[in-house]
Subunit: 468 residues, 2 copies
């Protein structure tokens, strides 16, 4: 067996065999050449300095310099004066570019729902909050955090939910998660662990995502119709389900606010059936001209599992949310969070706590309420002018509304014709679990990420299509 | 039906009924008082300014000021000159403090494994990277990102893995996740979706966490013994499993580096059996005096699913990691990531990409290698002095080693006696799936988060216990 010697450069995996008979410089050259040919090193990637590589491999610096010089002369490497050595542009086999969809044509207005005004994200405030949280960070906070979330954020979120949503919230029953999708996933797993095997959900709603989430937790999903008061509780009771997912503050996608009587009936059903309500507190932050309505969770904290997120109030990219859990579900939810990802990122959590506690979060929401109210007014006015026959509903909260097309109209045909005029419209059909139930052709108009002028121009461009 | 009027304050849910007969000021006072009594508003929480509340509720400012003055005189509210109105300290019913475990006594040295040196986390670099990423952030990046992760980070991670781990990585097959726990969860779900129902894993290993993760994906977990060369591939084949989880770079917890021949046997098994290897590339960043060993994934990219994380190289609190997937598993893994949380936080991902691309990540790793090497040397030396008969193995990489106690010694008794001297030691027992297999009493000594002096003092304090 030959005597072996080898070393590891931090940026590049190389092995020298001092007993192989091949010279060390030849070995080094060959390995770097092979790494470049095989694509392990790609155009523009940095190599260690000759001093550093020599030190780590136990070679003389001159030997490494000679090796680099040789590879430069072969066109594999490039060195600019005073800069580091990198892989040269002409050295590499051409990498096939990833197949990409052709860029979508720029739209006059895109009424896609579910996206807040991204341009208004308070980036300076968020970076301030991250910096402040970082400055105050105890060393121990860099370890794995509690799966249930940072204590500071759980306190602040619970306080906020009590004040603003009349929720029965405390830090002990608040679990931090990574946005609504994970909140729903954790809630469903906790319910499935209690033997619940069927999830009822609103129709129209988000049938594809809801069914997929339910299936992942081992549950079947059953649609239940929504009318002008909210979910049909009698139809819900008839399904035999012991869990239901609802959006009481502003129903997705019809925009209905669940009526007080319907709320009471839903809670009574849950108590009678030993069932649970998952409350997606969707769009609760932005209300306009209706009476304030607290969260369902505040009415029956032992039956309602509320899921909230900053995706609409701040931005989806942050991936932060929370669950308010009935006492008996707290530990199961925390257990599933532990298995899922051992907790959400600590610095982000502490930054959100600072943002809320400092009042900057409230200030942002106040500003955004005015922004969305103006867009909503522009939408109402533009429709009154350009498509006066089209009824608009679901305007009490949030940033989407429903436009009712005349009987017999074809949603998809209107969407396609609008697209040809560079206006993004969206059919209700995608949100329906049972198309047969449809009560007339409708479009869902999101105005969260569309400026006032674009709202007006977009509706002006398609008014005749909507009016039919 | 009385005429109703109501309004919503952004920070507090209040409803006024103008037809109720009760005066508006009385209603406002009562509702705030009730909110404080019920704990919806807690000590120190801010109320809106009188001007703002008046504006939002459609009241005169004088009425709100009178209401606040009354509640101040009753002791519910407090206002400092020039500051906001808050809930007064004596107003609230005492909140029962959450039951907390008594603080653990401060240890001379805590040899808990699996934690890097938290005090060395490059916080300034991380905040720099967040700021830079934030500054360059396109507005569209605030929307939901791709579930597979930000393109910038996938490129940078793939490049890094090619260079440093000789991985067969490209951005297309790299999926960003929230640390190792989520990476394992996604990998197992993707394998379960291919009909694989049994996961073999190393013994000793992390049996509790591995079994729980497997169960969550609908898989059974089967332990397979580890010897001085790594996992016993013959025993693995005998289990009939078609998936195995291994830590080839530095086996947890024995510290064995998987031998080249064992690697080849493992890959051959996977190819023969149409099986998959999940490679936890644990501790690959920190190697000391052994030949560099590339990742298993680089040997058989279509059979190995590699999971990496920054929990050891930076800090667990960041919750960022990645999977390098065989081509046929990319889309299933991305689909499960989409369901799990719709992608990891974008700003954190872009910050990590900047940290690596700028060379600051490499610089940190180089610095930490020196730090850990010094602690490792201190451990070896302290044991040679204070417990010369105790054999130490598993020192080739990472920041934990295994101390072999004399035959017949009781691991738990040594741990308990050390704890009485304020030294945290950890028994191998917790890591064994089948205790009967144990080849002698051993302790796992982590030195990642223990300073050199504490290593020396800690071992000096328990040397006689170890020597027995």
């Amino acid at each position: 067996m030959p005597l072996e010697w080898s070393g590891l450069s931090p940026e590049l995996l190389l092995t020298l065999d001092r007993g192989s008979g091949e010279g060390l410089r030849a070995q080094l050259e060959r390995q770097i050449r092979d790494a470049i040919r095989a694509g392990r090193l790609q155009v523009g990637e940095r190599l260690p300095s000759s001093r550093e590589l020599a030190c780590r491999m136990g070679l003389s610096r001159g030997l490494v310099q000679d090796c680099y010089a040789q590879l430069r002369s072969e066109g594999y490497l490039a060195t600019r004066v005073g800069a580091s050595t990198t892989v040269a542009a002409r050295a590499c086999p051409p990498v096939a570019p990833a197949p990409e969809a052709p860029p979508a044509p720029r739209l006059v207005a895109d009424f896609r729902a579910g996206v807040p005004d991204l341009g208004s994200f308070p980036l300076a405030d968020w970076l301030w909050a991250l910096r402040e949280a970082g400055r105050a960070l105890p060393t121990a906070a860099l370890d794995y955090g509690a799966a249930r979330g940072a204590a500071e954020l759980r306190e602040v979120v619970a306080g906020y939910q009590r004040r603003v949503r009349a929720a029965a919230a405390d830090a002990e029953r608040t679990v931090i998660c990574s946005g609504y999708a994970q909140g729903l996933d954790l809630a469903l797993r906790a319910l499935a662990a209690r033997g619940i095997r069927t999830l009822a959900h609103e129709d129209p709603g988000a049938p594809a995502m809801t069914s997929a989430a339910a299936a992942q937790a081992g549950m079947a999903a059953v649609p239940v119709p929504v009318d002008e008061q909210g979910i049909d509780v009698r139809a819900l009771a008839a399904t035999g389900a012991r869990a239901v997912l609802v959006t009481p503050a502003h129903q997705w996608p019809t925009g209905v606010v669940m009526a007080a009587e319907r709320r009471r009936a839903l809670i009574a059903w849950a108590q009678r059936r030993d069932a649970y309500v998952i409350e997606d507190d969707y769009d609760a932050e932005f209300r306009y001209d209706r009476e304030p309505v607290g969260s369902l969770q505040g009415l029956a904290a032992d039956r309602v599992l509320a899921v909230g997120t900053v995706s609409k109030s701040l931005a989806p990219a942050l991936r932060l949310g929370w669950l308010l859990c009935p006492p008996q579900l707290v530990e199961p939810v925390v257990g599933f969070k532990e298995l899922a990802d051992r907790g959400s990122p600590t610095l982000d959590q502490l930054a959100l706590a600072r943002l809320i506690a400092s009042g900057r979060y409230d200030r942002h929401l106040r500003r955004m309420r005015a922004v969305y109210a103006a867009r909503r007014a522009a939408l109402v006015e533009a429709l009154a002018v350009h498509a006066p026959g089209v009824r608009l509903t679901g305007l009490a909260a949030g940033f989407h509304a429903v436009a009712h097309l005349g009987a017999g109209r074809d949603e998809e045909a209107v969407v396609a014709a609008a697209r040809a005029r560079q206006v993004g419209l969206y059919a209700m059909a995608a949100n329906r679990a049972e198309p047969a139930r449809a009560d007339g052709p409708r479009l869902v108009l999101g105005f969260g990420n569309v400026g006032e002028r674009a709202v007006t121009q977009g509706i002006a461009a398609v008014g005749d299509l909507l009016a039919g």
